[in-house]
Every structure is written in C-alpha cells, then in structure tokens.
C-alpha cells in the first residue's frame, strides 16, 4: 500500500513533536489508544488564559505512518483555535486531508479522540465539567 504524499511529509517532518508541562492548569493532555492495538497517541494543548485560544499543541505517537501524520496534522489545526472550534474537528476531515485509505481510518478516529480527551482534561483542571461525546466508531 502506498502512502499519500501528505502522510509521507508529516512522517518525515512531523510538526509539533514534544511534551508540554502537564502539571500546568493551562495544559490539557489526552492519551488514547493502547500498545496492544499498535497505536498510542498523546496530544497536548496549552490554552492562553487571556484570549482563550490554543496557543500551543504538541504530540507524541506510537504507531504507523498514518497515525503519526494524523496527530501531527491535528496539532497544526489546533493552534490558534478556541476550545469551541477545536471540538468541531472531525476525523473525516483528517481522512480527506491526508487521503487515508479505509484501513487507516482508525488513525484519524484516534486523533479526534485525542483532541477531545485533551480538551476534557483542560476543562476538568479548570473546574468545568467534562463534555460528553458520542462514542466514536472504532475500527
């Protein structure tokens, strides 16, 4: 199976690899997936307290090229967005942007789950209730 150029580009030059200080109240962390399934994503956002916008986003991913590309792309999209905007990022938009084949859709689902988990972590740290999301369809 050949990868799309965009997947290859994200794999070779991943954007925003790294770690934010998860003890800070302004940082939300989402850790999703499982080693047994062959992919684990950790996605972090840092929210600017004054503007309410996501000022930084970082990821680390254990997984195939599509999983790495999905999380790299997600961090790019998150930066500069408000939490409300970030919630609307849909896995199918990632699939379209990266031209993921059907067997790799689960990678985009994982990235969407990671975004939601990071947002809820941030909300709970700041005295807000966790948002309830519909169970994502996992492949």
């Amino acid at each position: 199976m050949a990868y799309s150029e965009k997947v290859i580009d994200h794999y070779q030059n991943p954007k925003n690899v790294g770690t934010l200080d998860k003890s800070k109240a302004s940082v939300g962390t989402g850790l999703v997936g499982a080693p047994e399934c062959g992919d684990v994503m950790r996605l972090q956002i840092e929210v600017d307290e004054a503007t309410g916008l996501i000022k930084d986003a970082k990821f680390k991913t254990f997984g195939c090229g599509s999983a790495i590309a999905s999380s790299s792309l997600a961090t790019e999209w998150l930066k500069g967005k408000s939490i409300d905007e970030a919630i609307t990022i849909d896995n199918m938009t990632i699939v379209e942007e990266l031209n993921l084949p059907p067997v790799k859709i689960h990678c985009s689902v994982l990235a969407e789950d990671a975004i939601k988990a990071a947002i809820n972590d941030y909300r709970q740290k700041n005295g807000m209730e966790a948002l309830k999301f519909e169970e994502s369809v996992v492949h």
């Binding site: 199976m1 990868y3 290859i8 794999y11 991943p14 690899v17 770690t19 850790l31 999703v32 997936g33 499982a34 080693p35 047994e36 399934c37 062959g38 992919d39 684990v40 994503m41 950790r42 990821f59 680390k60 991913t61 254990f62 997984g63 195939c64 090229g65 999983a67 790495i68 067997v103 790799k104 689960h106 789950d113 996992v138 492949h139």
Partner: protein, 405 residues
C-alpha cells in the same frame, strides 16, 4: 555502489537465479512439448527434461526421483499431504498433531480437516519457537496418524529438531510430514537422515520460479500413499493430475542443483552477514531477538524494537529497503503476528518486530546501510513515541489503563 531498493525479504520470495532462467527459456519456445505426449519427439523431450529435473530435486533432499510429486507450489503440497493422508489412512485413525506457528497453508488445512471429522492437536511452541518433545510424545494417541511440523519457521527462522521428532513418531508408528519451504536449499535436509515421510517445498524460495513446488512422498520403510486431491489425467503416478509445468520444473531442478553445489559456501557467507546485522541491531537499546538463538536458519533474524511500531518503522526506509514486519496495522483485525504471539511476546513487542531475510545476492554494503537506516529510524521514532518517554521516566506501562479499541 548501492542500488536501491535493497531486498531483505527472502523468506517471502527470492529472485530467480539467472542460471535458472537460462535453463528454463528453451522450454517455453522450441521445447514446448507436453511431458505426457508419448508419441512424438516434443513429448519425449519434455519428459526427459522433467525426469532430469526430478533427479536434481530428489538429490537435494536425499530422495529417490520416484518419490517427488510436482505441484503448483508448497500450499498445494501442504494440502495434498494433509488431506491426502487424512483420507488415505482413515481406517487407521483421524488424529493429526501440528503446532501453533505453522504456516497458514498447514493451519487452515488442518481446520478444514477438523470440519471433515478429523481431530487436530495444535501444540504450543516454547518461547524459543521450538516444540517441546515430551509434549509431542504425550500428545500421541492410538488414533494418531500424522505429525505435521514445519522444518523451519518463516517468520523467526527457527529450525525444529526433525530427527528427534521423527524418532518419536517412528516409535509410535506415526507418519511425519514437514513443511520445509524455508529450509530446503538453505540448510542440509535429508529425508532419510531426518526420518521424514512427506515433505513440502517450493522453487521460488530457493532462487527458482514461482508456481512450482513438490511433495516428497516416501516409497520405502514405510511406503506412504496419499489420496489425490485433483481428479484428471492421472499425472504424477495418479497423485497429482494436471499437465506438468515443464519450464517451471526445469527451473526448479536447476535451482536445486545450484543450491546443492553452493550451499556450504553460501551459508558461510550469508550467515556472517546475518550475524553482523543481528549483532549491530541488538546493540540498539531495548531491542530483542525473537526465536531461538542457536537453532535457526543462517540467513534469517527477527528483532523487536520496543516502543516503536513496526509499520511506522518500515516507513522510515521502505523506499530503499524491502523488509517485513510482524505488525499488522493494515489488517482489519489489527492483530500482530500469531507466530510472535505464540512465543509469548506481548502485543507491544509483537507490533515492534522486523523480519530480515538475507539472500544469495545480499552484500555487506547493503547490511551496513540497513543497520544505519534501521538504527536511525528507531531513534527518530522513539523521540516521538509517548511509550518511550514513559519508559524513560520509569513509568510501568502495564499499570496504565489503556482505552482498548
């Protein structure tokens, strides 16, 4: 100078040796006859070529030419051996013993036999990939007709103790079948010394063409028979009907002859390269060798690199190096290799494995390049692996509650 891509997946298939292709070419054009045409020179020529190839093939495994049944490949030979024995020896019993790291051509055929009323015991291999001989012997019952164990494993390259296995079988009057696809042509295989009654092997794993293989069926001590699985013209002494693939068989014969003549020299050269590759890659932190260290094929190694995923790892260099992984991120099930799991590897290590299969045309320069590329990619991916970061922070990954899919 390095030419890309480098091929290190010789367990999947091998290139045809140019000497094999040269031997085959006349049998596509001028000497195109049907080996079963008894009444004209075209047929005689083809028959003569097949007879000669049959001798070359038999010689490599220490058999008599009459004991070689040509097939379309090893999958067909596996099917013929298992189903053929199951049907032929139905009055004697219905129990077959095999193991859980066999090739799918054996495992799925055994599943089929179970549906037909057969009873199959799937021995669990030890964590080195070898069968426990005491367990094997204990599994033999009065209705056992066949022990089916692979000579060498396709993923980890471990070599089963065939002599010991067949000694146990003989003691209990049970036949031995071996899928020897990965072993024949690579290491000395002798059906008499090894005590094998039926054996499947194929040309394309030993620098011959695809689409031709053989089943060895013992004719003496004991005389073994299999029920044919294809009905037709009664070729191959009635055991495998179908017009013989003359060019393929000629190529198979030539491939066997070359393996026989060059095995010693080739093994010495390739195993040295394999050892270098293995030693260098095991220097990478948290890398693990899969399968037994000693009892293994000279050209194979299988290594897991903890906390990086196999398919992601391959992507780092698969434009330039052809390798395969025990990971199965592309399959719908996301299940990693059943062979690695059978060794007791956790899913994380099974997902992190690479299989290296060296071959006749592998060079030291290619190995050096591969070591460099794999090492660099492992390091790069670990920099972006959350598992590696946790491991480095001393977090026990087993204590984390993962959101399982």
């Amino acid at each position: 100078m390095l030419n890309f891509p480098i091929y290190l997946d010789h367990n999947a298939t091998t290139p045809c040796d140019p000497r094999v292709v040269d031997a085959m070419i006349p049998y596509f054009t001028n000497n195109f006859g049907n080996a079963a045409s008894r009444n004209h020179p075209f047929g005689w020529q083809a028959e003569e070529a097949v007879d000669y190839a049959r001798e070359q093939v038999a010689k490599l495994i220490g058999a008599d030419p009459k004991e070689i049944i040509f097939t379309s490949g090893a999958t067909e030979a596996d099917n013929l051996a298992l189903k053929g024995v199951f049907e032929m020896y139905a009055s004697k019993g219905n129990h077959i013993i095999t193991c859980n790291i066999e090739h799918k051509a054996v495992l799925d055929t055994c599943k089929h036999i179970e549906k037909e009323g057969g009873e199959v015991t799937y021995l669990k291999v030890k964590d080195n990939g070898l069968v426990d001989l005491a367990e094997l012997e204990a599994a033999i019952k009065p209705n056992t007709i066949l022990i089916a164990l692979m000579y060498a494993n396709n993923e980890i390259g471990t070599v089963m103790p065939m002599k010991e296995i067949s000694a146990i079988a003989k003691k209990h009057g049970v036949l031995v079948f071996s899928d020897a696809v990965q072993a024949v042509g690579k290491i000395p295989v002798d059906v008499n010394k090894d005590g094998i009654d039926l054996m499947a092997f194929t040309a394309h794993k030993m620098y011959g063409p695809k689409g031709v293989g053989a089943l060895y069926v013992r004719r003496k001590n004991p005389r073994v028979k299999v029920t044919a699985q294809l009905d037709g013209g009664g070729h191959e002494r009635g055991m495998r009907s179908g017009t013989l693939n003359v060019p393929g068989i000629v190529g198979f014969g030539k491939a066997c002859e070359i393996c026989m003549n060059e095995m010693e020299e080739e093994t010495a050269r390739v195993s040295k390269l394999r050892d270098k590759l293995q030693t260098e890659l095991l220097k990478v932190e948290e890398s693990y060798l899969n399968g037994d260290k000693e009892h293994k094929l000279p050209h194979v190694t299988n290594i897991s690199f903890k906390h990086v995923e196999g398919e992601g790892l391959l992507m780092g260099f698969n434009k330039n190096i052809a390798l395969s992984s025990g990971s199965a991120c592309t399959s719908a099930s996301l299940e990693p290799s059943y062979v690695l799991k059978a060794l007791g590897l956790g899913d994380d290590l099974a997902h992190s494995s690479l299989r290296f299969g060296l071959g006749r045309f592998t060079t030291e320069e290619q190995i050096d390049y591969t070591v460099e590329q794999v090492t660099n990619t492992v390091n790069k991916l670990r920099e972006m692996s959350p598992l590696w970061e946790m491991y480095k922070e001393g977090i026990d990954l087993d204590t984390i509650e993962w959101a399982h899919h």
